[in-house]
Symmetry: C2
Subunit: 352 residues, 2 copies
């Protein structure tokens, strides 16, 4: 800190992303990246676009991408917002829809960026404690609030809420915006998208980082009533007119269009997850039922932190959160079958 | 607007970037893009990087790019911040260094994004009226303030301040941050970079969009004392861990490394500017002396707005600001020699 920092900066504790050590080659099961490469059509389209037009600004409105997403999800383009990863879309959403002094609600165990957004944009919040099995106590989300944000599936637990549950929150909360953060929905969940026309207070946020294998390209998007999308555009255009570069816009369009590739890869990840779940279960792990591309696991006799350190020594990275209630859990991203075999085998040599 | 918008969103008037009409082919002299393509080495490096690694997150700290910039500018990497265009870097700077209720100072005629940042981050500001010749009245920047932001060269005028002037502001203002926005400095100005070690309150912001022909890639950067850089990182990491995608990071490194290409192209733009300035002067235009890749011009008998409309009909886009004091001026980006010849010829047929 320094005397030149604003009061805001001085009061912040930034989000810390998963580590990316470069000292040797790791099996990376710690940042929920996709083990499969992006579609070859994405690669080809981006390569073809690397030309002299990089001297020109991108389309500030990302219309081609908005139209592609609208077409794919059965919306119109005024119902779609695009941004630099779902993190940026989430940040803009906090600014666009939530007010100071009117606490928003989110689970106590969830994406650890939410409290950071709340602090940087000075939004009060109230944590809703999850049940002991990490399910969400619905009644506690029905109280008065300044807005709700729920990830579905939740992170880092992988738990999935049914649409009936989401709809109950929406219908009890018609005066405030409910954000459903669906970063992981493609791995077996059901999107709340179908509720958009019925609930003008619903904003669904997704990303191309996980299910479309494009964490390196930074593309996220939001879908909802066009009034909500206009609010997001107002914030974006007050901060940075061009958040998505020309190559990201082009790659994202192709990633959405190549549905066959997407379906194939996400089905493989689901099947690897189910196989790994069975194996981990046999080893005595408690596993939160997951609809995401990761599993949240805990062992009755070996401490999570010890496993984390030990796996890292074996060049396998998983995510460990030194946080109340979950400090005996590991979040393990689903890699390829080969990566998961190596991971399970490594565990097998420490857990007997 | 809608009942779901925050009070913040409801009170904003977003920045409006220069138009990008697609109905026909235009000579684009309206958004200060570079008429020359990026270095072939940039193109080659990006193409080579379009591969399966796009599935992985980029380096959140952009260390390779920070090191390249530090090396080029004779700094250490802790003195460099990188972001998604200088617009994002500016936005984060407002958050990191300026407080509400302590008005910052900037010129009344300047980059029109500054008042937008001030509003979105609730920073009070006071406009310093430029002199009639669009020079900055230095005494008015020496009063008590919560910070100062000055573009050098200024936009949309192109006027350049000497380093003595900048240093006077810095030394009168040691308790607050002074941001020098050098988006256009490469076209004949002198950077305040040399003052960084002497003034820990100085932040210099630059971009690859103009002089490195990479508007489409979205890369900006800031240089200053490492305490200021840490402040910017704190804000960035509270909003979006990965603002620069893998391809932007790689292209930016090559753009800085290929200094020969950069020098050649910016010298051509400077020489085209000087030639165009002479021609416009002969046609009776008043031209603000410019050290940028644009000129700010006014004609004694033909109205700027009429010229703007008439040029657009001839498929030539320039920038017209419907704003007090400058509503009889046009900002004309410096294109290639051929583009400027077409522009001058078109003007010649209306101005006799």
């Amino acid at each position: 800190m320094s005397k030149y920092w604003s009061k805001l900066a001085a009061g912040l504790e930034p989000y810390v992303p998963g580590e990316q050590p470069k000292d040797r080659k790791y099996i990376k099961l710690n940042t929920n990246e996709n083990p499969y490469p992006p579609s070859p059509k994405v690669i080809d389209a981006i390569k073809a676009a690397v030309d002299e037009n990089l001297k020109l600004y991108p389309d500030p409105n990302g219309v081609a991408l908005k139209m592609t997403l609208a077409n794919y999800y059965g919306l119109n383009q005024e119902q779609v917002f695009v941004g630099n990863g779902s993190d940026e879309v989430l940040a803009f959403s906090f600014m666009a829809f939530f007010d100071p002094n009117n606490p928003i609600l989110f689970p106590d165990i969830t994406y650890s960026f939410y409290p950071v957004y709340a602090k940087v944009f000075k939004i009060d919040y109230e944590l809703v404690p999850l049940n002991d099995d990490f399910t969400i106590p619905i009644d506690k989300l029905l109280k008065d609030n300044g807005g709700v944000i729920i990830p579905n599936p939740n992170a880092p637990t992988g738990s999935f809420l049914t649409l009936e549950f989401i709809e109950e929150i929406l219908s009890h909360n018609k005066e405030k915006v409910v954000i459903v953060d669906e970063a992981y929905v493609d791995f077996g969940g059901v999107s709340a998208l179908t509720l958009i026309d019925k609930y003008p207070n619903l904003l669904v946020i997704q990303t191309l980082s996980k299910s479309r294998s494009l964490a390196g390209l930074r593309v996220g998007f939001a879908m909802g009533h066009e009034d909500l999308i206009k609010g997001l555009d107002t914030i974006k255009n007050s901060i940075n007119s061009y958040t998505l570069d020309r190559l990201a816009l082009i790659g994202a369009v192709e990633a959405i269009k190549d549905d066959e590739y997407f379906q194939d890869k996400k089905n493989r990840i689901i099947s690897t997850r189910e196989k790994a779940t069975g194996q981990l279960s046999k080893m005595g792990f408690k596993i939160v039922p997951s609809k995401a591309n990761f599993v949240f696991i805990s062992h009755p006799t070996v401490k999570a932190e010890d496993l984390f350190i030990w796996l890292k020594e074996k060049s396998i990275l998983v995510r460990y959160f030194r946080q109340p209630r979950i400090d005996n859990y590991l979040r393990v991203s689903i890699g390829s079958d080969e990566e998961m075999d190596t991971f399970i085998k490594a565990l097998g040599s420490i857990i007997t």
